[in-house]
């Protein structure tokens, strides 16, 4: 009857050993990087819009650092990212939405660094309708408010005379988690629709009166593919990777633009100076930006001003914003280069990170 003794002893030993290891391990390193200090890992979470770009950075950055720094990033949504960095359960957060006043004070001395520039696309799944359907932000607002319910609504057909629009019901798809794409969309719609502004408002999480919810950009793309007649807003990179059809949105200059690097840059070029908290809104840029895509957005890394990993964070962020570093991966994924004033503001903000 020896096996029971072995079993019991194994259980107790295992429990004790693992408890000791866990208790003492928050200050020790991970074995995956093989490094001796904890600054060889950086854990971040947040925006799924920037996820495609970050996933290019991770292996490249590990290759460029010695000892190699492993960046772990979870695309849990901008709201989750703000949450996580506020609770300090990650080393950096990522959000397409800047911190609100309440969030900034809850985060306790956090800095936001606009480290990439992209856009939120409006995609749709309507049989027989190709890429480039022309829509105005007002139409998008009406669709998501439930005022326009079928694809052959006169408001849409009027702008697309060459397209055969079916009488299919429109199913708006929105993000059920805290999302920077939701923030960008609601930011735009609040600017152009007083109805939207008073009824819904601008936030990473809003109450959508109609439609279906999905989690993260991935879930939105999946839901879009599953529902005929659906319309959705999602990070621009997800449109091409999933071969979706996207709309051309009308900007203030009355031109219809799809989210291309050129159109996104045109929107960002309207930024002449950066506010002290680095929060920049470039939705619905003025008519002087003739080719701008009206739903462009910066996306931010949010870091604590004082952090035990200050050094590692500074190095990583410097890499990320470097036009010859992280930014080189941008254009393929529909991320435009950071305009000069933003780059300058970033550098001075990064310099403020201390331990």
């Amino acid at each position: 009857m020896k096996k029971h003794r072995l079993f019991a002893a194994a259980c107790v030993a295992g429990a004790l050993a693992l408890t000791v290891a866990a208790c003492g391990s928050s200050s020790s390193s991970t074995s995956s990087t093989g490094g001796a200090s904890s600054s060889t890992t950086l854990v971040g979470a947040g925006s799924s819009l920037v996820l495609p770009l970050v996933s290019k950075w991770v292996p490249d950055y590990a290759g460029k650092t010695d000892p190699p720094v492993t960046v772990t990033y979870g695309g849990i949504g901008s709201g989750g990212g703000i949450d996580a960095i506020t609770n300090r359960t990650v080393d950096f957060g990522a959000s397409d939405a800047p911190l609100s006043a309440d969030q900034a004070s809850a985060c306790d001395n956090c800095l936001q660094v606009p480290w990439a520039l992209s856009a939120t696309a409006i995609a749709y799944n309507v049989s027989g309708v190709d890429n480039g359907l022309q829509l105005t932000p007002q139409i998008v607002a009406d669709i998501y408010l439930g005022n326009i319910t079928t694809w052959d609504d006169p408001a849409i057909t009027k702008l697309n005379s060459g397209v055969d629009l079916p009488p299919t019901k429109i199913t708006p798809i929105y993000r059920s988690d805290g999302s920077g794409d939701t923030y960008a969309l609601t930011d735009l719609l609040s600017k152009i629709s007083p109805d939207w502004k008073s009824q819904i408002g601008t936030s990473t999480l809003v109450k959508f009166p109609v439609g279906t919810g999905a989690e993260h950009n991935d879930g939105v793309a999946a839901a879009l593919g599953q529902t005929d007649g659906a319309i959705a807003y999602l990070g621009a990179a997800y449109v091409s990777t999933n071969s979706l059809t996207e709309a051309a949105l009308q900007n203030e200059a009355r031109n219809y633009e799809e989210p291309t690097v050129k159109a996104i840059s045109a929107a960002a070029d309207t930024v002449k100076s950066v506010p002290s908290d680095n929060a920049i809104s470039i939705t619905a840029p003025p008519a002087s930006a003739k080719d701008a895509y009206p739903l462009s957005t910066f996306t931010y890394a949010i870091v604590p001003q004082s952090s035990p990993k200050a050094d590692a964070l500074k190095k990583f962020l410097t890499y990320a914003i470097d036009p010859k570093g992280g930014q080189t991966f941008g254009p393929d994924l529909l991320f435009a280069p950071l305009p000069a004033p933003v780059l300058a503001a970033d550098k001075s903000t990064i310099a403020k990170i201390g331990s």
């Binding site: 009857m1 019991a8 259980c11 429990a15 074995s31 996933s55 990033y73 359960t89 990777t241």
Partner: protein, 299 residues
Amino acid sequence: MEAASTPANHPLLQGPPNLKRRRRVNRALEVVAWVSAVVAVAALFIVVASVFVKGVGALNLDFLTQGQVAFGPGGGIGNALVGTGIIVLLAAAMAIPIGVLVALYTSEFAKSRSASAIRYVLDILNGVPTIITGLFVVVLIVKPQGHQSGFAGAVGLAIVMLPLVARSTQEVLALVPSSVKEAGLALGVSRWRTIVSVIVPTAFGGILTASLVAVARAAGETAPLLLACSIFPTTTVTDPSQAMANIPIVIFQYSESPDPSKHTQAWAAALILILFVLLLSSIARVFSARVKKRLEGTR
């Protein structure tokens, strides 16, 4: 059976017995019962078959050993397999000893009121929705530690496993013949010795069974991990103080993906999970039947 006479208005005494109709009703309901059993078994087969058919194609050595790819097609679930292994082992190492100890308390030491109070606590704990357990672990471990971890996930799973282990062990301990316990005490062996050297070894088979069932359950639990261990790197992590990839969360994430290749990977991961769970459950059943027979044989 009561010795009282059957009342005159008993349904079975209503006659003339319309035998044909009654037989037809009987037959019809027998068919309903058969069909129901078929439906239930069919549901099992449909789900398992779907998983098998859609997932078996992706199963190869590369898939099982490579880590994940963060964005885009390719990669495998190697890091998730390791992660789940570590997390489940950790959870078992916490839940099994504590569960057995709780069961020993209620069956050997506690007075009947304390024993039923603890049994009540275990019952409620068993019914706590696992998403709430996840919230608890976040507040208890993730927030103070400042990051998600395999350890936090393991604690969540351990809380789910604990009532299962404790209750099954209680049942097995109750089956240990009292003659065995009394024989020990009659020989002058102390209480603790009797328990450790006699009762537990006798019940060992049942404890093992209970552990297998609990491990099978924990391997598939997703909700606690969703909140405590869902942000992880694509590399293999073996340190439980860090967050690590795990099979249930990978399946969950891939299930929401628009990429068909990720769907296939999800099916394959689900296949491995189902095989593991079904294997453990079947072993546990066979074992449990044997254990019970043996214990009852010594009465």
